[in-house]
Symmetry: C2
Subunit: 146 residues, 2 copies
């Protein structure tokens, strides 16, 4: 009886801890983004451009896993602040290519370094071996398809 109940309890327990960990870490890391007046999604867009170079909105959305409507809004606001600019793609006029401005490039370069350091600090709570282990376990969960 108790054995029959336990798998559910274990799963719920693990799930709750996973959710709490993700939110907790995100909360602390995102403070460095907020210090630069960037939201999590704004940072995500800038980071994608920083690492991958100019991208169309569809690809940005795919990279940071957000809907088309949301991408439009986030990029609108980034454009409003002068961090990115849109250029109509000449080969296919349905596309915009989003570029970092000089201002945006300098900002993300600096903020990314802060965020990176914060992530390293967060993960330092675990040994290197445990970090690898956590990564592997999460990889299994994150890769599920339907």
């Amino acid at each position: 009886m108790n054995t029959a109940v336990r798998p559910t309890f274990r799963a719920l327990n693990t799930y709750t801890k996973l959710m709490r960990a993700a939110e907790s870490v995100t909360g602390r890391v995102s403070r460095f983004m907020a210090a630069a007046n960037l939201t999590i999604s704004q940072f995500g867009v800038l980071e994608a451009l920083h690492h991958k170079g100019p991208l169309c909105q569809r690809d940005i959305g795919a990279k940071i896993l957000k809907s088309t409507g949301n991408i439009t809004l986030v990029i609108d606001n980034l454009e409003k602040h002068g961090f990115v600019r849109r250029e109509r793609n000449t080969d296919d006029r349905r596309y915009f290519t989003v570029h970092l401005t000089q201002t945006g490039a300098e900002l993300i370069s600096r903020v990314f370094a802060d965020v990176e350091a914060a992530i390293v600090a967060e993960m330092s709570l675990l040994s290197e071996k445990d970090q690898e282990l956590l990564g592997e376990l999460c990889k299994k969960l994150g890769a599920r398809r339907e």
Copy 2:
């Protein structure tokens, strides 16, 4: 040199996988909430009331880790749909006690069962031992204070 770089790479890698796992699992689990026309936060409120009984808004907010302003909105909408009702606390008029209605209690009872089953299915990607392990690792990350 490569050894000096690796700790950062590892931490970023683990962080990314943790975030992806959390979002991925949440995305699939929340579909059962959405099937009942409940948002994640609405479900969270109803679940808290379901398990803990009537609570004041402050305590609900603490349980699901949301701001006071947000709690007001989420509960407003739940009240609008007839799932909860607020009652002014007679001992201290600053407080509302939030109660599940009959409709709300029946709904959360059903939806919670679906969500629970979904979580078990998600976690079943890992062995029982790995579920325990993941839980322990996440617990360490989630417990950090500043």
